[in-house]
Amino acid sequence: MNAMRLKLGEALAGRIRAHGVQTYPHECCGALLGRDGDGAAETPRVVSDLVPLANRRDDSPRNRFELTPDDVRLAEKAARERGVDLLGWYHSHPDAPARPSEYDRDHAWPWYSYIIVSVQKGEPRDMTSWRLQDDRAAYDPETIEIAG
């Protein structure tokens, strides 16, 4: 299959890292807005904006994040108002690698892009993106192309 690609401006990448640093040692989370390609390798998804959201998991915010349905509705509304799509979600892994966990997989949806930024001792490290396979068996990596 073709490698999936996600274009992300440097300023937006910086905002995701900064959000992860700001909420450290808790997980940050937010929505990715933009335009979907047609699935072909030459037309990547393009993220054009973010909607930072609050992590609603008060009981275990260091290794879990959760959004309310109203948060999701707010992100969908923001996308509609801008004439773009809700492409997916970002969250941080404080002091953990930028790889999806089993817990991530259990709670993910196909199609969405899931960006994970690792924040180690308060410093942003790797940023990766993933898409859940349709049968939910595993994630496929999505190449992030950071553009100026």
Partner: protein, 92 residues
């Protein structure tokens, strides 16, 4: 009665790539049954095998979560909007 069902982006592939679908029904249950009759592939993403709405699928009528109304028996009127809202969670 005609109601609009808004389809979230991950499920549009199973709904003819449409953002919203117009269906007939007097309750949320009837409207969603009409939706899944039209787009059979949607059913397994919305319902468990024993026919209950999946726990990570939220359904709203206009601005109200049907869990706090009459669930799938919640009545809908001409011009109402039903939204299917995915639950989002994860973590390291």
């Amino acid at each position: 009665m005609g109601v609009k069902v808004i389809i979230p982006t991950p499920l549009r592939a199973y709904a003819g790539k449409q953002e919203s679908v117009e269906v007939q029904g007097a309750t949320v249950g009837e409207a969603l049954t009409a939706l899944t009759a039209k787009f059979g592939d949607l059913k397994k993403h919305l319902y468990t095998e024993d026919g209950r709405l999946r726990s990570f699928v939220n359904v709203y009528v206009n601005d109200e979560d049907i869990r706090f109304l009459q669930k799938d028996k919640t009545g809908v009127n001409e011009g109402d909007t039903i939204s299917i809202i995915p639950s989002i969670a994860g973590g390291a």
